[in-house]
C-alpha cells in the first residue's frame, strides 16, 4: 500500500468501494475525549493507496460511510443527514433519513447494494431500522426487527484489518497490505492442483516442455489427445488465465492455450481473443497507479467508472454506435458521464467515433477536449484542416501550427492556401519566417497576393545586394523596388531607391575611371574617398548632384583633410566661406591629431560662446580665465578652475577666485 497513514485504521471510519474501488478514510472521528473544535480530514485513496483527495470535514459528526454503486461516497451523519460526495471529494447533494432518525440519532449505518442500486440502512437510537433501498430514488422504509445475520468468514490476520465484501470474494486491507481472498475457481484448481491430471494441467506442462525443447512435450500432448480432451484443455487454460492476477502466469496459460490450439482443427478463436482483450484491460487498471484490482468476474458487472468508457471503446461496446441518436445528444451524454475527469482523453473517444464513420460526432466530442493540441491530429485526419489550423493557433504551439500549415499547403491550391493564411496573422508570420529561410520565391508571391507593395519593395531592395551580383542585375532589382514603393505610396523610399540606382552607376564609373573601391560605399563615404584621393572637383560635383547639405559637407571635409594632415588645404577650406558648423570642431580635430599649432589658429576664430572651451582645449588656461571673467559666467569660471592643475596655474586660480568674490560683492 502506498498510503502513509498517521493513525491506526481503528481510529478511522473506513469505507471501501466494491469492485476494487477507492477507499475513503475519515480520520479523527468524533469521540468523546476529543475536543469538538478539531476538524477531521476526509481522505480518499485508490485501492493501491494512492491519495486521490483530502479535504477538511466541515459538517457534523459522521457515524458511517459507504460507497454507492455509482461510486459516490455516502456519509451518514449522526442526525440522519446523508452527504453525497464524488470520487474526487466534490460535494454532490445531501438528503435526510427522516424525522424519526433525527430525533433518535443514528447508532449505526450501512450502505448496501441491490439490483435497484445502493441503499442506506440505519439503526436508530431507538433500536429500530430505517432503510432506503435506492439512494437515487429515496423511499424510506422502517423495519420492525433485525434482519437475518450475514454469513461470516474466518481468516487469520496479522494486524488491524478492514474487510470489503466483493461479488466473488473479500478484500482485506490493513495499514500495509491489501489482499483479495476468494474461493479458488474450479478451473484454476484443476490446473494448479498438485499432481493434477486435468487436461489443462497437462497442456500447460506440455507447453513448458516444448519451450525447453524437450520431447516430453509430445508425450503430454499425446496423452491429452488420446483422451480427446484437447478442446477442453485449451478452454481450461483460457479460463484459468482470466482468474490469474499475475501477468506472467496469465501469459504462460495463454501461451499454453495457443500451443494447444495449433493441434486443433476447428477451435473458435473468439474466446481466446476476447480473453486477451479482457486481460489487457484488467492488467491496465490493476496497475499500481490506477489501482483497481478488479477480477474477471467483476469486470462484467462494472461499467460506471469513467475509465470503463474507454474500456468500452476498446471492447467495442456499442456506446458510439447508436446511429439513431443525434450527434449533439450523444456528445453531451458522453460528456455528462465523463465530466472533466482527468485521464480521460476525449480525442481518443472522438477518434473512435470517427472510426465508426461519425465525423460530426467526433468533431462535437473534440469540443470537450481541453487541450487544443490534442484536437489537431484528428481534425487533420478528418480533413477539417482549417478548423485544425485555428485549434493549433489556440494551443500556442507553433510547431503544431506549422504542421497544419504544411498539410494545408499540400491540400489546397496556392490561392486558397494564401487566402487561409490571410485570415490567420499568427500563421502568416510563421509561414513568412519559414519562407525567408526556405522559399524566397513563395515569400514574393505571398506579398503579391496581398498587394503588399511596401514589403515587395523591401524584398527587391534586399535582393539588390543580397542576391544579385552584377551591377545590371542590382540596378534592375532596385528599379522593381522603386516601382513597388511608388505603388505603396511610399515616395520617400522610392526616391531613396532611385538615388541609390544613380549612385551605383556612378560608383561603377568612378571605379572604371579612377580605379579603387567605390561600389557599396555610402554616399558620405564615397565623397570622403574622393577627397582623400585628391579628387576634389569630383567630390564637389557629387555633393551637388546628391544635394548633400552644407553642414555634412563641412564635417566630412574637415575630417578627411585632418586625416590626411593636409593642414594647408584645411586652412584654405576654413576660409572658403563662413563655417556652418563653427570653428570649435576645427580646434577639436587638430588637437586630436596633436597639432596644437594649427589648433591655435582656429581657436581665435571660435565664437564667444565656445571661446573658453576652445582655449582650454589648446591649453591656454590663462586666456581662458580672462575670457570667462569677461563673460562673467559662473559656469565658465568653474570650468576653467577645474583645469587649473599645473603648478603654473596658481596665479590664474587666484585670479578667478578674486573675480568671483568681486562678483559676489556686487
Amino acid at each position: 500500500m502506498d498510503w502513509d497513514l498517521k493513525e491506526e485504521l481503528r481510529d478511522c471510519l473506513v469505507a471501501a468501494a466494491p469492485y476494487g474501488g477507492p477507499i475513503a478514510l475519515l480520520r479523527n472521528p468524533w469521540r468523546k475525549e476529543k475536543a469538538a473544535s478539531v476538524r477531521p480530514m476526509l481522505e480518499i485513496y485508490s485501492a493501491s493507496g494512492v491519495p486521490l483527495v483530502s479535504l477538511l470535514w466541515k459538517s457534523g459528526p459522521v457515524v458511517s460511510m459507504g460507497w454507492s454503486a455509482e461510486e459516490e461516497l455516502l456519509c451518514v451523519q449522526e442526525d440522519g443527514a446523508v452527504l453525497v460526495y464524488g470520487l474526487h471529494g466534490d460535494f454532490r447533494r445531501h438528503f435526510s433519513m427522516g424525522n424519526e432518525v433525527l430525533q433518535n440519532r443514528v447508532l449505526d449505518a450501512r450502505i448496501f447494494h441491490t439490483e435497484l442500486g445502493s441503499g442506506v440502512a440505519i439503526l436508530t437510537g431507538a433500536h429500530r431500522f430505517t432503510l432506503s433501498a435506492n439512494v437515487g430514488d429515496l423511499k424510506l422504509r422502517r423495519m420492525p426487527e433485525v434482519p437475518g445475520a450475514l454469513t461470516k468468514l474466518r481468516f487469520v490476520l496479522d494486524e488491524d484489518s478492514y474487510l470489503v465484501p466483493e461479488l466473488d470474494g473479500v478484500r482485506i486491507f490493513s495499514r500495509n497490505t491489501h489482499e483479495f481472498l476468494h474461493e479458488v475457481p474450479v478451473t484454476s484448481e484443476e490446473i494448479f492442483k498438485i499432481a493434477s491430471m486435468a487436461p489443462g494441467a497437462l497442456l500447460l506442462e506440455a507447453q513448458k516442455e516444448y519451450e525447453k525443447e524437450s520431447q516430453k512435450a509430445d508425450e503430454y500432448l499425446r496423452e491429452i489427445q488420446e483422451l480427446g480432451q484437447l478442446t477442453q484443455a485449451v478452454q481450461q487454460c483460457i479460463e484459468a488465465a482470466g482468474h490469474e492476477h499475475r501477468p506472467d502466469m496469465q501469459k504462460s496459460l495463454l501461451r499454453a492455450a495457443s500451443f494447444g490450439k495449433c493441434f486443433l482443427d476447428r477451435f473458435p478463436p473468439d474466446s481466446f481473443v476476447r480473453m486477451c482483450q479482457d486481460l489487457r484491460v484488467l492488467n491496465a487498471i490493476r496497475d499500481y497507479h490506477i489501482g483497481i484490482p478488479l477480477t474477471y468476474s467483476q469486470l462484467v458487472l462494472r461499467r460506471l467508472y469513467p475509465l470503463a468508457i474507454q474500456i468500452c471503446e476498446y471492447l467495442r461496446l456499442p456506446e458510439v454506435q447508436q446511429k439513431d441518436v443525434s450527434d449533439e445528444d450523444v456528445a453531451r451524454a458522453i460528456n455528462q458521464k465523463l465530466g472533466d475527469t482527468p485521464g480521460v482523453s476525449y480525442s481518443d473517444i472522438a477518434a473512435r467515433a470517427y472510426g465508426c464513420g461519425r465525423t460530426e460526432l467526433a468533431i462535437k466530442l473534440l469540443e470537450y477536449e481541453p487541450r487544443s493540441g490534442e484536437q489537431v491530429p484528428l481534425l487533420l485526419k478528418m480533413k477539417r484542416s482549417k478548423l485544425a489550423l485555428s485549434k493549433a493557433i489556440e494551443s500556442g504551439d507553433t510547431d503544431l501550427v506549422f504542421t497544419v500549415l504544411l498539410h494545408l499547403k499540400n491540400e489546397l491550391n496556392r490561392g486558397d492556401f494564401f487566402m487561409t493564411l490571410r485570415n490567420q496573422p499568427m500563421a502568416l508570420s510563421l509561414y513568412r519566417q519559414f519562407c525567408k529561410h526556405q522559399e524566397l520565391e513563395t515569400l514574393k508571391d505571398l506579398y503579391n497576393q496581398d498587394d503588399n507593395h511596401q514589403e515587395l519593395g523591401s524584398f527587391h531592395l534586399r535582393a539588390s545586394y543580397a542576391a544579385e551580383e552584377r551591377i545590371e542585375g542590382r540596378v534592375a532589382a532596385l528599379q522593381i523596388a522603386a516601382d513597388a514603393f511608388y505603388k505603396a505610396k511610399n515616395e520617400f523610399a522610392a526616391k531613396a531607391t532611385e538615388d541609390q540606382m544613380r549612385l551605383l552607376r556612378l560608383q561603377r564609373r568612378l571605379e572604371d575611371e579612377l580605379g579603387g573601391q567605390f561600389l557599396d560605399l555610402s554616399l558620405h563615404d564615397t565623397v570622403t574617398t574622393l577627397i582623400v584621393g585628391g579628387h576634389n572637383k569630383r567630390a564637389e560635383q557629387l555633393s551637388r548632384d546628391f544635394r548633400i547639405p552644407d553642414k555634412r559637407l563641412w564635417w566630412l571635409k574637415l575630417t578627411a583633410l585632418a586625416d590626411l594632415e593636409d593642414w594647408e588645404e584645411l586652412e584654405k577650406f576654413s576660409k572658403s566661406k563662413k563655417s556652418p558648423i563653427g570653428y570649435l570642431p576645427f580646434v577639436e580635430i587638430c588637437m586630436k591629431q596633436h597639432n596644437k599649432y594649427e589648433a591655435k589658429k582656429y581657436a581665435s576664430r571660435v565664437g564667444p560662446e565656445q571661446k573658453v572651451k576652445a582655449l582650454l582645449l589648446v591649453g591656454d588656461v590663462a586666456q581662458a580665465a580672462d575670457v570667462a571673467i569677461e563673460h562673467r559666467s559662473e559656469a565658465e569660471l568653474s570650468l576653467v578652475l577645474s583645469h587649473c592643475t599645473g603648478a603654473s596655474d596658481g596665479a590664474t586660480a587666484d585670479k578667478i577666485q578674486r573675480a568671483r568674490t568681486q562678483a559676489q560683492k556686487k
Binding site: D397, D399, N423, P425, F434, R462, A466, L523
Partner: protein, 721 residues
Amino acid sequence: MAFPHRPDAPELPDFSMLKRLARDQLIYLLEQLPGKKDLFIEPDLMSPLDRIANVSILKQHEVDKLYKVENKLVLSSNEQLCFLVRPRIKNMYYIANLVKADKLAGRTRKYKVIFSPQKFYACEMVLEEEGIYGDVSCDEWAFSLLPLDVDLLSMELPEFFRDYFLEGDQRWINTVTQALHLLSTLYGPFPNSYGIGRCAKMSYELWRKLEEEEESETKSRRPEIGHIFLLDRDMDFVTALCSQVVYEGLVDDTFRIKCGSVDFGPEVTSSEKSLKVLLNADDKVFSEIRNEHFSNVFGFLSQKARNLQSQYDRRRGMDIKQMKNFVSQELKGLKQEHRLLSLRRCQLGMRGEVTVPPADAAKGLYFPRRDPWLLVGGGLLWSQMGKSTSTFCLKIFFLWTIKRHPSRTSNVSSLFVILADIGACESIMKKKTKQDFQELIKTEHALLEGFNIRESTSYIEEHIDRQVSPIESLRLMCLLSITENGLIPKDYRSLKTQYLQSYGPEHLLTFSNLRRAGLLTEQAPGDTLTAMESKVSKLVTDKAAGKITDAFSSLAKRSNFRAISKKLNLIPRVDGEYDLKVPRDMAYVFSGAYVPLSCRIIEQVLERRSWQGLEEVVRLLNCSEYSFAGMWCGGCGWGCHLVLVCQCGAEATDPTDMTKEDRASSESLRLILVVFLGGCTFSEISALRFLGREKGYRFIFLTTAVTNSARLMEAMSEVKT
C-alpha cells in the same frame, strides 16, 4: 552606499538548483552517445554552457574535441559527432553539409543533434529534406533558465526580441511557458499574477493551462513567491533606449556584459591574454557599487582606499612568513578593490574631468623585472594625475613582491585585472570622446522632458552627419520618435535621408523594421488621427480581420509617452539638486531625470494589487485588452481556479474556499517575480532593487535576455552580409 535590505525583506530562493538540473540533463544526453565524441557548439551557446558545465565536466563524459559551429567546415576524425545548437535553420544546413560530405567520402559516423532549449519542427523538416534525418538522432536540452545572479534568471534568448516584436513569430512563447512551468514546479505556486502586453497575456494563459493539465503537487505547497508580473518590452521602449548611468548598466553599455561576465580583449589588457571578469553578487565590492549612480562611486572608493592604506601599514615590519600569511588572507579582498579602483577611473574618464594615465605608464608596470620602485613611481605619477590615492601603486608593489616569492603564483592574475581596467579606461575614453558624453546625456534628458526639441533634433542630425555611430544615431532617432509620438514629417524625411547618406541605402529596410515595431514613426496629421484610431479599434474587435497585424504596426502603436509620463509622474519635479548619494526614488538610475516607465508600472500595480485606477494609463499603452490580474487559489488541493480579470477594474470573484486570511497572507508575500518578455536592462534591475529596499520587497528577475539600447537597435538593423 549599497543600502542594506529591510530586516523584514524575504530571503531569495536558491536558484542553483536550475544549474544542477541543466547540468544533469546535459550529462545524461552526452551519455546517450557512449564513448568518445567531438562536440560542436553553437557560438551563442558557449557562454551559457560555460556557466553550467566546464570543459573538464565535458571531458569526463568523453567529449574529445570542441568545435564552434560556424561557416567553415571542420575536419574531425572522431567516429561520433555531437552538435549542441539553437533550433535555427542555418545550423541544420551546416549539419546536413557535414553529414553529406561524410556520405560522399563513404564514411559512416554517429551523429547526434541536441537542440537547446527545444527543437522545432521546421528544423527537423530541413534535415528530412536534406535527406539526412535518418542519419542523425535528435534530442532536446531543455535548458532555458540560466541563473546569472542570485536574483536574475536569463533565458539567454536575445532573438526573442526580434522574432516576436518585429516578425510576429510566436515560437518562443512556448519556451517561455515551459520555463514558467519549471519555475512554478520548483518554486511555486505563485498566487497573484499581473501582466501587461500581448505576449505577456498569451504566455500567461498558456502557462496556466499547462499548470492545470499537469496536476503537480505544488498546489498544496505554501507559496513563497507571492506575485508574478509579466511585462512586454514594447510597453516601454523609452527606458531601454536611454544611456545607462548606473554602474552595472554603464559597464554593459561600454563593454557588453555577456552571460554575467565581461571579456576584456587584448586591446584592453595590453597583453596577449584577454581577461574574463565575472560580475555578480559573489563579488562583494561589485555588489556594493553595481546599483550606484556612477558619480557616487568616487567617494566610496576613496574611503575603501584609505582602509586599504591602513591595512598596508600593518604589513610593514613583517617578515616573509608573516607576509605570506597576510597575502593569503587579504589578497582576495584586495583583488576586488583593484577592480573597483580602476573601474572608478573609467567613470571619471567618462565625465571628462580626470585624465587617464598614459598607456606607457601602465605598460611599464606590467614588467615586474624592472625596478619595483620604478613601478611605484609610475603608479604615483598616475595617482597624481588622477587625483587618486597611492593605494594603486602600493598594490602594484605588493603584487610584484608576490611574484618574487612565487609561492602563490596564481595571485599574479590580479595584476592582469588592474591592467585590464587601465586598458578599459582608455578604450572608454576613445569611444566616448568622439562626442561629449555629458552633452549626450543632456540631449536625452531634454527628449524625456520634452523641451528644446529643435535643439535635440539638430544634435541628432549632427550626430548622423559626423558618422559618430550608426547604432547610437538610430537610438537617438527612436528616442525622439517615441517621446514625441512620432517625428514630424519633415524631420522624419530629413533624418532618414541623412542617415542613408551616412550609412548606406540598405538601412531603408532598417527604417521599415523600426516603423513596424513602432520604434521610429511619422506623426500622422492631427485631424485624421482620431479617425484612424477608431478604425483600428474597430479592427481590433473584429478578430477575423486579417490585416490586423499590419494595421496595428503602423497605426495603433502610438506611444503616447508624454501623456503617460504626465499620468505616472515619470519626470520628478526638480526642487534643488537631486542628491544621487541618497536617492529618493527610482529616477536616480537616470540621474534623477526620469523614473523608468516599466518599473513605475510595476510599482503602481503592486501598490494597488490590481490595475484599478490605472485604466487611463493602460489605454494610453494601447493595452486595454492585454492587461490582466489573476488570483490563483493554491490551497484547495484539487481543482484550481483562476480568476482572470481582463480589463482593469473588473471585480474579482473568488470561487474557491480561499479564506480572506489565506488571500491576505499570499498578498503579503514580499518576493516578486518580474518577467520581462523581450529583455530588460540593468538600469531597470537597479531601479527595482531600489524599490525593493524601500518597500521591503525582494524582486527576482526573469528575462528573455539582458538587453540595452545597442542590442535593441542591432536587432532591428539590416546589415549587409
